[in-house]
Symmetry: C2
Subunit: 109 residues, 2 copies
């Protein structure tokens, strides 16, 4: 999405949604969906940013939101609901979602 892989988050508190997933074999439309969902998320009210990494074992995507209401609203966006349903049936062997309030943060600086 951008050349900076880090989300540009404000001073805490804000909300992090940690999505950890084990993928099924093959792509089966996953990469295109992930790009589309990333772009769609960025248009939602209260969106702060996203960070994502994926290797052979696990994928982790952390999306950041101004508050929990914004995170819940994104979960309910119609096109996202379709992707979630397809995720459950086709793309993810298993996953965990954790909704958390960030209370402190810091960087390398």
């Amino acid at each position: 999405m951008t050349s900076d892989p880090f989300a540009q988050t404000p001073e805490p508190p804000y909300v992090a949604v940690v999505f950890s997933s084990v993928h099924t074999d093959g792509d089966d439309g996953y990469a295109a969906m992930a790009r589309r969902m990333g772009a769609l998320a960025a248009e939602q009210p209260g969106y702060l940013g996203i960070e994502s990494a994926r290797d052979d074992t696990l994928g982790i995507t952390v999306s950041y939101w101004v508050d929990e209401a914004a995170a819940v609203a994104w979960k309910q966006v119609a096109e996202h609901l379709v992707a979630q349903e397809r995720g459950r049936s086709a793309w993810y062997d298993d996953y965990r979602v954790r909704i958390a309030t960030v209370t402190r943060d810091y960087g390398k600086g």
Copy 2:
């Protein structure tokens, strides 16, 4: 570490430390350190589990702790301090650390 890539976390609330990093080129002892730190973290009081993914762009490691005091104590473990210092100088071009309180979670089931 284990065949289950997901952390076995209890009912919320608990604490998540999200560590996102951009790596320098090459390994330079990183993989061995990461294994050692994973094993050492698992020995700490209040440790709940860890999830990690890394691709060419970003690495994300989320460690889970019973409370913020346990997470802070792990940050101060002597051998970990040495690894953090080496991380700043050799392994990470940049990173972000976010300390968060998990308030809700769910899985595929």
